[in-house]
Symmetry: C2
């Protein structure tokens, strides 16, 4: 049995806990939290909730620690700290800061001979793998990544910070015509505006001014100004009923050519349609926790990403079984 | 530069040659053939065509030999023979015989400390990787593989062997309603007949009896009896004009559940739409030849498959570049 620990018990932590239940070769050993452990009630009976400060006492009882913190403020310090004591895996997803995070984690991991798998999830993660495969197989070609339809947490937060907004959810929606053109092999050059639209559902405060708020959203730099944005003002009841989910998804497409004079076109498409973004992310995390465990058994250490992991390591089956059953 | 040799110069050999031209880190060193080398004219200027019997003289001049033989009669002996002398890669695609082929190749590869990557292509190959990722990430779920629309060489051959048939091409076509049901997360149980239809385009000999031939095709065990098959009789001109291509493709879909009581559904879909089946297969082969080279530089040997290869090894970029550009 692979002994797993969870650090942080929000949406991700709960998702990891559920995914472990579906993995017969893994057991949840403990959940670590910065809150008062007595205030945290988990789903798995008999598993202790422990304060993060006491994690070191669990050094020899956990094979892989799954770090379920946020990328903005938790993981930049959490991952280097925990890799001092454990093999770790995180879902760090701020693309631009991955090289820095990698370097920080790698330094500690190498010194401590622990393994860290960072940036595990679907983007970065499965989408990255598919971008890489597409580029390597069809070097003459173009990459396209579309996201959605799905909830963007960052954009929802940006709308919620506007004065007069009580609650808000933002959906990123891929533009169907753009997707169709890519799939048809037309290799279009697409602007930001042509690839995605943004749709906001907003609950107003008593004194919220709908016109002013709609204008503030649509002109917000970085978040909305470069997109065609639709704003719907709805009641709290409708918000609770129709906009509490965390669905997401997206598409990675490689359009490439082959042949003596590049006369043949090929389309490789990878897509995800997810009822629950955090539960899918944590399903990926748990599969890679298995891979991390196998890699440590072969002596691997230092910081790695999904790009460094052989697919077979994600499975509980042997190479022989995999070759016979699904190769 | 990675020094590549090609064994066999048919559709696959030519495809490998084209793909190497798009790989700035590779050079084609020689093409080996069982035919009279003087009778074989290749696309790349200045590269020698050599008789296969003389391959051993090239032992120290080639890093990876790409074996472009057929799975039925060539590769079962060709791969074990060439791995005596070289690191090799093949596209062996008879799924049921992979374990035997693997064992035969592995024995020699281990003894000679050479690396062999077998069963590289898209199915087996990229489709296998996607089946594996899907299973590992969503262990509670169902797998679906659909092929087409595309030309099945084996089925086309079977029709051509019927007396009275001058030429024939068979297309495997996925059933749209079945694909839609899978994508909608309905997890249907699909019979062979419900997943694919078969469409044949047949040119008759002077004395060919259309009614008898159509009946013989539709009732042919293993090949057609379990499918809804359509047979079109066409002229040689129409055949040459519309049915000389080698397009293919397909879909690998994992439909899975997550959550405390598996209440959330997820669909992972990987699809290919290929103008040229052999050229895409060889594009995959060439990317994996790069991976094989990198693995030998780290001391790897024995027989491996795509399931054993970290994605990053397919790229000519460094880990650092990959993390910064596409992770």
């Amino acid at each position: 049995m692979i002994r797993i620990g969870i650090v942080g018990y929000g949406n991700l932590g709960r998702g990891v806990e559920c995914a472990i239940k579906n993995s017969p070769d893994m057991e949840l050993v403990a959940v670590f939290t910065r809150r008062d452990p007595k205030s945290v009630s988990i789903l798995t009976k008999g598993v202790p909730v422990v304060h993060s400060d006491l994690a070191e006492e669990w050094k020899d009882k956990i094979d892989v620690m799954i770090l379920c913190g946020g990328s903005a403020t938790d993981l930049p310090s959490m991952t280097p700290k925990f890799v001092e004591m454990f093999n770790v895996i995180d879902s760090f997803d701020t693309h631009a800061k991955i090289p820095t995070h990698f370097a920080n984690v790698d330094e500690v991991a190498k010194r401590k001979h622990h393994l860290a798998l960072i940036a595990v999830g679907w983007d970065p993660g499965m989408f990255s793998i598919n971008r890489l495969y597409g580029n390597a197989i069809l070097p003459q070609g173009k990459d396209y990544t579309f996201w959605g339809k799905g909830v963007s947490q960052g954009h929802s937060d940006a709308v919620r910070r506007i004065a007069g907004v009580k609650n808000a959810k933002q959906y990123t929606v891929p533009v169907k015509e753009a997707l169709d053109a890519v799939r048809a092999g037309l290799d279009p050059e697409l602007s930001t505006r042509q690839k995605h639209t943004r749709e906001c559902f907003v609950v107003l405060d008593k004194n919220g001014d709908a016109t002013a708020i709609e204008n503030e959203i649509k002109t917000m730099p970085n978040y909305f100004a470069d997109y065609d944005t639709t704003v719907h003002f709805i009641s709290e009841e409708e918000f609770a009923k129709n906009h509490s989910g965390m669905a997401h998804g997206g598409f990675v497409i490689r359009s490439g050519k082959s042949g003596v004079s590049l006369e043949n076109s090929h389309i490789i498409e990878y897509s995800l349609k997810l009822d629950s973004n955090p539960e899918f992310t944590t399903s990926v995390l748990v599969a890679y926790a298995r891979a991390a465990y196998k890699m440590t058994k072969e002596g691997a250490y230092g910081c790695k990403t999904v790009l460094d992991v052989p697919p077979a390591y994600l499975s509980e089956k042997s190479g022989e079984e995999l070759r016979a059953s699904l190769l």
